[in-house]
């Protein structure tokens, strides 16, 4: 094809747009990491959580989470006797600095760490009008902040309250399961600092991962199973009052 001046004028902007998308689709360099060989999840062992807030602080530090917003947080439940449908729940500053003592009135107290459930059928990715939020081939729900419109439909669609609008970027923000770490063979910041091992990163595609043995031998639940989102954060020892 002969390249005339007119054709060149048409081709150049088209090529520039195409190149922009090629660059946007290039994943961060992780030479030995194979996307299709992993399917990431997390295990939360509720009886082990002491509500120290280390995970919330580590997450905020690692991911530059703005003050007042949370990629992960801890809730403290207090269930008085049989009132399983009306638990008292609190999460001061997302549990970042721990919790004040709770008066002992005979009920039970426990901590529930929360984060994005990295749902396999996530409503947030379904509703995104431009596909800026997506599930990666290794099972992590991510947001492309260079593409997100900031319409906040995904925030409304998340049944677990895991998303927020980052005031610095004006785009949707959420837990990335420390994607920049796990693709390099590290664990997440929250798992790394948990002093009791209440949080465990799990790779469901790795047959040697201890998650498989754990799931076989424990009564494990997910949050709001009736939402049918394919949540991949598994909770051991979760009370029926948790929502």
């Amino acid at each position: 094809m002969e390249i005339t001046r007119r054709r060149l004028l048409v081709l150049l902007p088209a090529a520039a747009v195409a190149w922009k998308y090629v660059l946007a689709g290039t994943p961060e360099g992780a030479p030995n990491y194979e996307l299709t060989k992993h399917w990431w999840a997390m295990l939360i062992d509720i009886p082990k959580c002491i509500g120290c807030g280390s995970c919330v602080r580590a997450c905020a530090e690692e991911n530059d989470v703005p003050e007042g917003y949370y990629r992960t947080w801890i809730e403290r439940y207090h269930v008085a006797d049989w009132k399983i449908e009306r638990p008292e729940v609190e999460s001061p500053d997302g549990g970042k600095y721990g919790f004040p003592p709770h008066a002992d009135d005979g009920g039970k107290n426990f901590f529930v760490p929360k984060l994005c459930n990295h749902c396999a059928d996530s409503p947030c990715t379904q509703v995104c009008p431009v596909g800026a939020t997506f599930i990666s081939p290794d099972g992590v729900v991510l947001v492309d902040k260079s593409y997100c419109l900031g319409c906040r439909y995904c925030i409304q669609a998340c049944p677990y309250g895991c998303r927020f609008l980052n005031p610095k970027t004006n785009t949707a923000d959420k837990c990335t399961l420390c994607y920049h770490r796990i693709t390099k063979g590290l664990t997440t910041a929250c798992c790394e600092v948990c002093p009791t091992g209440a949080r465990q990163l799990a790779d469901l595609k790795n047959p040697k991962d201890p998650i498989h043995e754990f799931l076989k031998t424990h009564a494990v639940q997910i949050l709001k199973p009736y939402m049918a989102t394919g949540a991949k954060v598994f909770y051991n020892g979760m009370d029926g009052s948790v929502r």
């Binding site: 947080w73 999460s91 997100c148 419109l149 900031g150 906040r152 439909y153 925030i155 895991c162 970027t169």
Partner: protein
Amino acid sequence: MQIPVEGFMYPNEVELQWSILIVLYPFITGLVAGAFILASLERVFRVEAVKPTYRLALLTALAFLLVAPLPLQLHLGHPERSLEMYLTPHRSSAMAMFGFVYLWYLMAVLLLEIWLDYRHDIVVRSQTEKGWKRLVYRGLTLGSTNVSERSLHVDERLGYFITLIGIPSAFLLHGYVGFIFGSVKANPWWSSPLMPIVFIFSAMVSGIAAVMLLYMLSTRLRGQRIDMRCLDKIAQYLLYTFVIDFSLEMMDLLQRIYEADESFRSLDFMVHTRLWVSQVIVQILLGTVTPIALLGLMQVLKVTEAARRWIYALAGGLTVIGIFAMRWNVVIGGQLFSKSFLGYTTYKMAFATREGLLPAIILMILPFIILWVLVKLLPPWPESASVPSGATPVHGTS
């Protein structure tokens, strides 16, 4: 800014994501759809009595439709990326279809219908007006200057066909807005298959009421007599659609009360506290029951024309306020409770910020300015149209 919270909210839920601008979006599109459906009564269903409002209803629909995307645009974190919805739409997203539904309605239905309806007037004016006006009308002809009888007949047939397509399109436009909310399964206040249907009927109610008020106001401003046959008919249609709309909403409410699922206690508490004024007082009592009662009474009582005009104006005004309150209660109410059903947050509306009250007020004034320009450019009534002799509007009012 500290936001008052009662009970427990997930920490990221405390701040509301969708503001008053998102309240305006379904309110404005509702007016568009409703106004168009009123216009189609004359065109498709041959309800001759409402003819005086035909063109006004179309221009009202256009004026509001032109403003409809602006609140969304202002609300976006990155408005400069909004075109991506057209370029790379995510097919599974209800919201991604907005641009296409909007464009379809604007370009394929409304603009085309208005143009066909006014084409004869435009051609005549492009030949008779002077100066810049002549240029404007010449541009509006789009090069089509044939106003022979046969050509006008084609316009008429095509206009009828477009209105036929326009009715389901208007339903699509607003049913779709209802679907955006109704399909959010995470939110029990929104999630309901009835939502699109309720939105369609409430759209018709608000659009009919708005055109009725605009017709009364514009006729008064022009010093003309209000056609009572027309006004009575519009009020009658308003009553019928309102009764259907209210019944649907009550069915939804009864179902929720009787089922009393896990979200019920939380939502019930919210209605009795945070939404008591906006929902029970403004939306239901003042904005629905009162206008239905007033319009209903007009069907059974013999009332003087002057009194009827005042009552229709009151009922119409209350209706528009009631439908606005309904949009408010859907959008804002749906974000005041926690998805844990254990607590409530508060909506703090700012004033002169991007998503504050001031831009909302400006956005509500803007359609009226656009409508004023449209009415000047394309007069919907014959007496002030001053169309030169020999040019009879295709859809002139009587």
